[in-house]
Structure formats: structure tokens, C-alpha cells
């Protein structure tokens, strides 16, 4: 049964560099955008530390979330026009699109690694817990918030709705690829999104693509490939991410050792103690974190102050490719770092592809992942890489990269003829 949702007296629009305009016609969507938990996304960057590599990448998760909503809205309109859509699912889908990232914290990925938090769990808590967003959703009827949470958690019974928000070609990926390409200023990363929408079809509980639209889908896959290697996994960005992670580790370690901070990080104390509540979590954003990184440059602890200085002033770690041979040398390398007065716990770190929240397209794994399916003229479905030479050529390629990060400046600043300097240079091959 389709229930009616209140419409706004007049349509609201947000000017957007990717979609030109984002159109809001429903009171529910307008109210969700105004909720404090959603407004907080203005203070969380979409690409974390990437702005230290591509200075334009200052865009926020707020803009991305609006973009995902807009794509979902337009795709639903196309499906409705073709009678491929159950309209009773529309508002659930739009809310899920808008709120899919609402649980992200500041510099989410590093933060989660250090503190063991999970932004997806926080998304669920924000939608289901004691929040303005929950109250707005539940005004639509008891259980409405749970249904939105289920779509985002990918456990909603209607898999078509889930696919629209989360699959190999979904509203989330389409928006972030185009938005991230725009804001980083890179020339790759573009694809014809409207063409992809036009060739989308529904088949049972999944979205498939007409064979005639294969080239538009190929462009999307190439965009994803280029953005992965040249933006998302850029080694300089990863270096900033390594330092950020080490700052959080050091601050937590110092707090647990009873260090007397000159600037005690009150908003972080509960997370240091492992007792953070939803209310505490919602107070955290990147402004808060960057404030402490700025003032911690004055702390008496030389490691914390140095790491913060490095992050704030972009004095990043250098890297060498990590090889199994380096693993054999790791004990000697750690000893040499220690002997040289450089704590390897904070100044020697491996970063690999499996640390990245982004992924490349692969043609399923014997049923574990849903691949992109092309709808052939005879009505059968063929997996994309079987039909496309372009996609076939990149899906078999290596998708891993592993680097060892270290502070080259500290090594070079060691006294001339220092045996430790020579050891480290030899072991690192620099």
C-alpha cells in the first residue's frame, strides 16, 4: 500500500556542482537535512586527508549525501516511468540514500582503526537511537526508522532497493566518483551517468544494464579504476593517513599512561576509555580533531608534538615499496630505529590496499559478490567482463599495493657517519 508523505509548499533546491540542482519536494527529506546529526556532515570531509595531496578536495560528506539522494530520486523517477518500481518503497529509499553515511566520524577510517569504532554501526545508532533524525523518521509511523536502517545495513527484504544504494553500480559510487573527480580536479573519473540511468533495467531483485549501454558502464569501471589508483590510494594521501593514525595512537597511549596534557582533549576522553556514547560521538567532527592537532604541537611529549607538526604542516613520511625481504629485516630495522632514538612504533608503518575503504570492480567471486550483469537481446544475463574486453583487461590486474612509511628527514638528520643511519639506509634501500 502506498501511503502519502507530506509535500513542501514549494520545491527547495540546493545548487550543486555535480548535479547542478538537488531537488527536495518532501517535508520528510527537508526535515532530515535540517537535523543536527545531518548538519554535522558539513564538518566532515568526504575524502579525509586527500586535501593534503589534491588541495581542492575539501568537499564534505554533506554534499555527497545530498548527491546520493538526488541520484536515487532521479533513478526512481526513471523506474517509475517504466512501471519497474513499487512506489511504497520510494521514501524509504530516499531516506536511506540521504542518511547512508550519517554515522561517519572525523577522518573516519583512521579513527576506526585506532578506536575500534564503526561508522556503519553509528549510522544504525543515529537512525534508531535518541536523535532528531530518529524522531523525524518515526513521525512517518512506527518501524519506519528500522526499515531505513535495514536498507542501509543491506538487510532489507527488497533487494532492488538495497541495490540502488549499495551495489557495484549504485547511487553512492556514482556520486562519489563524479564529486571526487570534480573537487580533486583530476581529468579522469568522469562518465556519462545519465546514459547509465537510461540503460538500467530491473530483473527480479537486481539492477542490470542493457547491452547497448555497455560502453557507458565501461567508462564507469575505468573511472573507478583510475580514481582508485590515482586519488584514493595516492601514496602521499596514505602517508598523511599513517601520520594521522599514529597521532591518535600516541594521544591515546599517553592518556592511558597518565601523561599530563597541556591541552587535555576533553571530547576524546571517553573514546580513550572505550566508553563513548552516541551523544559523545556526535560531538566529534574534523574541526575538533584539527584543533587538538594544532595545539598539541606545543605538548611536552616530543612524539606527539612532532607528529602533529608533520600533519599540520605537511611534513609527511616517505615510503619504500614493501617486499617480503623487508619483513625479514623488520627486527633489525626496528632495532636501528630504536638505537637512533626514533620510536619504530610511531615512525615505521606498513600501509596496504586492504587498509583502504575503496575497492575495484571484480566479476564476483563464485557467488559471494553480485557482479554487474548485462541484459542481452535474447533476455539472458552476462557478466560484464565476459562481454567487455576493456573491463576484462583490468579486472584480472593486480589490485594490491603495500608500502613502508618512515620519516626520511629524521634519518637524514642523524649525525654524519652514524652507524644507525647507514644501517637504516641499507635496510630500506635508500
Amino acid at each position: 500500500m502506498t501511503r502519502s508523505f507530506q509535500k513542501l509548499n514549494e520545491e527547495k533546491v540546493f545548487k550543486d556542482p555535480v548535479h547542478r540542482y538537488i531537488h527536495v519536494r518532501d517535508r520528510l527529506i527537508w526535515d532530515l537535512i535540517g537535523a543536527p546529526e545531518f548538519q554535522r556532515l558539513r564538518r566532515i570531509r568526504q575524502l579525509g586527508t586527500t586535501y593534503l595531496t589534491f588541495h581542492g578536495a575539501e568537499h564534505s560528506r554533506f554534499g555527497h549525501s545530498l548527491g546520493v539522494y538526488e541520484i536515487a530520486r532521479r533513478v526512481i523517477d526513471i523506474f517509475k516511468y517504466r512501471n519497474h518500481w513499487d512506489d511504497s518503497e520510494t521514501m524509504i529509499t530516499l531516506c536511506a540514500a540521504l542518511l547512508h553515511d550519517v554515522g561517519h566520524g572525523p577522518f573516519s577510517h583512521s579513527f576506526e582503526k585506532v578506536f575500534g569504532t564503526n561508522h556503519e554501526e553509528y549510522t544504525q545508532k543515529i537512525i534508531l537511537g535518541d536523535t532528531e533524525i530518529h524522531r523525524i523518521l518515526e513521525k512517518q509511523g512506527s518501524g519506519f526508522a528500522q526499515r531505513v536502517a535495514d536498507v542501509i545495513g543491506k538487510t532489507y527484504p527488497n533487494r532492488l532497493v538495497v541495490s540502488l544504494i549499495s551495489s557495484q553500480i549504485d547511487a553512492d559510487r556514482m556520486d562519489y566518483l563524479l564529486r571526487d573527480a570534480y573537487f580533486t580536479g583530476v581529468s579522469y573519473g568522469h562518465f556519462d551517468m545519465e546514459r547509465i540511468w537510461r540503460v538500467m533495467r530491473t530483473r527480479d531483485d537486481q539492477i542490470v544494464f542493457k547491452l547497448s549501454g555497455m560502453h557507458a558502464v565501461e567508462d564507469y569501471i575505468m573511472s573507478r579504476y583510475q580514481m582508485y589508483w590515482q586519488v584514493y590510494f595516492h601514496p602521499v594521501t596514505r602517508s598523511a593517513e599513517v601520520i594521522l593514525t599514529q597521532i591518535l595512537h600516541r594521544a591515546k597511549d599517553l592518556y592511558q599512561q597518565g601523561f599530563r596534557f597541556k591541552y587535555l582533549p576533553h571530547p576524546l576522553l571517553k573514546i580513550f576509555n572505550g566508553k563513548i556514547t552516541l551523544h559523545d560521538y556526535l560531538k566529534l567532527d574534523e574541526s575538533v580533531i584539527l584543533y587538538f592537532f594544532q595545539v598539541w604541537q606545543e605538548e611536552a611529549d616530543p612524539i606527539l608534538s612532532d607528529l602533529c607538526y608533520r600533519f599540520m604542516n605537511r611534513r609527511l613520511f616517505k615510503y619504500v615499496e614493501f617486499t617480503p625481504a623487508l619483513l625479514d629485516a623488520k627486527d633489525r630495522l626496528s632495532e636501528s630505529f630504536q638505537a637512533a632514538g626514533i620510536d619504530p612504533k610511531y615512525y615505521l608503518e606498513i600501509d596496504s590496499s586492504s587498509n583502504s575503504p575503496y575497492d575495484l570492480y571484480r566479476p564476483g567471486e563464485e557467488g559471494e559478490r553480485q557482479p554487474i550483469q548485462l541484459l542481452m537481446p535474447d533476455g539472458t544475463l552476462h557478466e560484464l567482463s565476459q562481454e567487455s574486453d576493456v573491463v576484462g583487461s583490468i579486472t584480472g590486474m593486480r589490485r594490491t599495493d603495500c608500502k613502508l612509511y618512515y620519516p626520511k628527514d629524521r634519518i637524514l638528520d642523524l649525525p654524519k657517519h652514524s652507524p644507525h643511519q647507514k644501517d637504516i639506509q641499507r635496510l630500506l634501500g635508500i
Binding site: P324, S353, S354, E365, E366, E368
Partner: protein, 173 residues
């Protein structure tokens, strides 16, 4: 450095023989749920919990030469992509002696089950934050191929592995 990779390699090593990719995904999810120190992020996919992070870690272990990936006859198994430890992998593990407690009995118990059954078990575990009845209802709505009798067996299996886990490594969690 690479402790999470080492835990995965150690689990494969403890298994003593090859293990299929699908079973490994399910086994690590089960071990994580039992409190063992696996930190991979799992999402709900159309065959239950699946970790892209683990999938990339396995590829990295292969690229380092620590694991060997083979393909078995696809007509004889529903889990044709299998992994085994290489000589270099044994050397790698010599750097991480205590990275994982001995879980070989528990591992045998898990890998002795069919993929379909492990899917059923892991989907149930995915909803372990819900009440017993709500979890079962959720599984039956999401996975129409799972029968009530399979669910009953899966629940008994979960009890059994919890019991085994408390015997095998009570202080490991």
C-alpha cells in the same frame, strides 16, 4: 606490521590443508564472532556476511608469495578457489609465533560443514543482536532457501562451537 595478515595465514596453516575462499570467509566471520582477534569489516551480502578487506588481504598474501591460490574442478565443488601456505608463508609465520591461539579443533569443526550450512550459521550470527525469534524471522525473510530445520541445526551448531571454544582456548579472547 601485517599482524592481521599473519592471523589469516596462521588460521590457514592450522587447518593443515587447503581451504576454499568461501569457507575461509565464513570461518573468519565465525571466529570473529566467537571473540578471536580478527578485525576485518564484514558487510551483509546476498550470501550473508562477506569481507572485502579479507578478500584483499588474501590477495596480498598471495602477491607476497605467502599463500598459493589454486583452482579445483568447478564441477566437483562449490568452493573452487582454494588457498594453502607456501614455504615463504611458513617463514612469514615464524615472525608471528603467538599471533593466534591454537584453534585447530574448532577450525576442523567449522570447515567440516557445507558452504550452504555455514551461510546459514553466519547469517544467524549476523543477527545475534536481535532476540532469538526476531533473528530467525529475519533470516527466513532474507534467505528463502534456508529451511526451519536447517536453522535448528545451525543454532545447535552455534552452541556446539561456543562449547568447543571455551574448551579449546578459554583465555584467548
Amino acid at each position: 606490521m601485517l599482524e592481521d595478515h599473519a592471523k589469516v595465514a596462521a588460521l590457514i596453516h592450522q587447518n593443515g590443508e587447503t581451504i576454499g575462499r568461501k569457507k575461509l570467509q565464513k570461518a573468519i566471520y565465525i571466529f570473529q564472532k566467537l571473540g578471536y582477534p580478527f578485525h576485518q569489516i564484514f558487510h551483509f551480502h546476498f550470501r550473508g556476511p562477506y569481507s572485502e578487506e579479507l578478500s584483499v588481504q588474501l590477495e596480498e598474501l598471495c602477491d607476497f608469495g605467502f599463500l598459493i591460490e589454486d583452482r579445483e574442478n568447478e564441477e566437483q565443488t562449490d568452493d573452487p578457489c582454494v588457498y594453502r601456505i607456501s614455504e615463504a608463508g611458513r617463514d612469514f609465520l615464524s615472525h608471528y609465533k603467538d599471533v593466534l591461539p591454537n584453534v585447530s579443533r574448532l577450525m576442523q569443526c567449522v570447515v567440516g560443514q557445507s558452504i550452504h550450512f555455514l551461510e546459514c550459521v553466519t547469517i544467524l550470527l549476523y543477527f545475534d543482536h536481535l532476540s532469538h525469534d526476531a533473528a530467525i524471522e529475519k533470516v527466513l525473510v532474507l534467505e528463502k532457501e534456508i529451511t526451519s530445520s536447517e536453522l535448528t541445526r545451525a543454532l545447535a551448531f552455534i552452541e556446539e562451537i561456543c562449547r568447543l571454544q571455551s574448551i579449546e582456548s578459554p583465555a584467548s579472547r
